[in-house]
Amino acid sequence: MARAITKQKKIMWTALAWGLGLLIFFPILWTFLTSFKSEVTAISDPPVWFFFDWTTENYTAVLERSNYPLALTNSIIIAVGSTILGIIFAVPAAWAMAFVPGPKTKDVLLWMLSTKMLPAVGVLYPLVLVAKWLGLMDSRILLIVILMLINLPIIVWMLYTYFREIPGEILEAARMDGASLKSEILYVLTPMAVPGIASTILLNIILAWNEAFWTILLTTVNAAPLTKFISSFSAPEGLFYAKLSAASIMAIAPILIMGWFSQKQLVRGLTFGAVK
């Protein structure tokens, strides 16, 4: 006996959910609106909502600042680079743990997870020291390596949970048909693993893009990604709300869009399979 849902109830829930949802989303919406205002309109009293002269001058102003394009480039290189490097290390490991589980597989997985829980300040000075010693302070390569290591446990875990869902019978069937190991991997496993690998890449680009401890403390200008660039707005002078908003929107827009696509994978990636 299905429960009858009255239309009235549905409308009530819709109104409540939309209201609260918009409230949560409001800071982003407000930033978006402000980014199209002139600096004077941005701080006008009372605040203006939609009816103002929409302008894109803030975006061009921010883009013309020499540091913004550099920060954007750095963000892309660091986020994508660390993710690719992580995938290179993680795919073989997750693959082996999922398809050839040994008695110690579980311990290795949990140990990897435990490295993720190490507080960054615990290793702050040694890293600064080693980076200076190697001449890698304020370099992209340093951040690529560090962010790769920070996110490697998550990448391994996500891939492991995806690979484990690939049924072993398919492999056996392929073997019975006389498939070699090479064609087994190429034609049977890879097509089934691609969606899992894709979502893992997506989530990790997001995490690396938003990382804001090492990126702030280990860069100055040359390798500074958007996290660091935006934090330099912390002590600004004069009118700057509209420009801050434009810079913010440009920094979060690509990730917001990627995030909406990956929301289903988010739970898997961040709870290590503990919630299904």
Binding site: F25, G122, Y125, P126, N210, L226, L266
Partner: protein, 288 residues
């Protein structure tokens, strides 16, 4: 049917990942441990390799340590209670029949993808700012004196910012748990005449307890190392100096490496206590 050969190959495939993580974890941690027993202040040219537990002693007995622990606890507790209660309510709300559910979901999840420095700056300037912030307009609109959030209630302000960022995470995970609840059980309870509150208390909440535990543990681990939000808003002033921030200041600002390293080791130990509980839950799940 893993043969000897495939076992060996598997080990070879796992080895690189284990090796880099091992290096990443052990070498810096050992260095921190080494420095924590040394008197090392590079700016003054002081270096004495072994001074015993003096750093630990002075770090643990200093008034800033106890204050920092208190601030950290308040911050974590405040953020956890907002996100857990809000998350449960949002999860239940999103589970109701409605129009445009997918869009509401997207709206609620969005803050999680905003980078910490952006959300901290947007809140600091466009909402909390005493001259031009939106909250000041609200206060004035209702004929009240504008309130300077970041200097008069700095801890609360940071809690609001971070809770805003983490509410989506709690909502998303609790929603996943809510949706796995069997509707038959709920319908049976409803037919037996159990009112909404009772259904929530005796059926829904126990079902959610595991997910809530996971959210608490994971968030605690991340929240213990909040950095950017404090860095951008108060820079550790006005009683917002958490343990993480205190160690950062000792190490990088005052360059007292020995003392800061001792603090770092203490932070590692505290985080490990939380981590052990989380690992137990995750480990149990692996056996299934």
């Amino acid at each position: 049917m893993a043969t000897q050969q495939s076992r060996a190959a598997a080990r070879l495939m796992i080895a690189p990942a284990v090796f880099v993580l091992l290096v990443w974890m052990l070498i810096p941690l050992c260095m921190t441990l080494y420095f924590s027993f040394a008197d090392y202040r590079p700016l003054r040219g002081v270096f004495e390799a072994w001074i015993g537990f003096k750093n630990y002693e002075s770090f643990l007995t200093s008034s800033s340590f106890l204050k920092a622990v208190g601030t950290t606890l308040w911050m974590v507790a405040g953020i956890l209670s907002i996100t857990i209660i809000g998350g449960i309510l949002f999860a239940l709300l999103l589970d109701q029949p409605m129009f445009g559910q997918g869009i509401v979901r997207i709206l609620v999840i969005a803050p999680f993808f905003v980078m910490p420095t952006v959300s901290a700056l947007v809140w600091k300037n466009m909402f909390f700012n005493v001259d031009n912030g939106l909250f000041s307009y609200l206060y004035k609109f209702f004929g009240m004196q504008p309130y300077d959030f970041l200097s008069q209630a700095p801890l609360f302000s940071i809690i609001v910012i971070v809770a805003w960022q983490w509410l989506p995470f709690a909502t998303l995970i609790l929603l996943t748990a809510v949706q796995s609840l069997s509707s038959e059980q709920l319908e049976a309870a409803e037919m037996d005449g159990a009112p909404g509150i009772k259904r929530f208390w005796y059926i829904i909440l126990p079902h959610l307890s595991r997910a809530v535990t996971v959210v608490i543990l994971i968030q605690t681990i991340f929240l213990l190392s909040i950095f950017a939000e404090i860095f951008v808003t108060t820079n550790g002033a006005f009683g917002t100096r958490t343990l993480t921030y205190l160690v950062y200041q000792r190490v990088l600002e005052s360059q007292n490496i020995g003392l800061g390293s001792a603090g770092g080791i203490i932070a590692v130990i505290l985080a490990n206590i939380v981590a052990i509980f989380l690992m137990r839950i995750v480990g149990k799940n692996l056996d299934k």
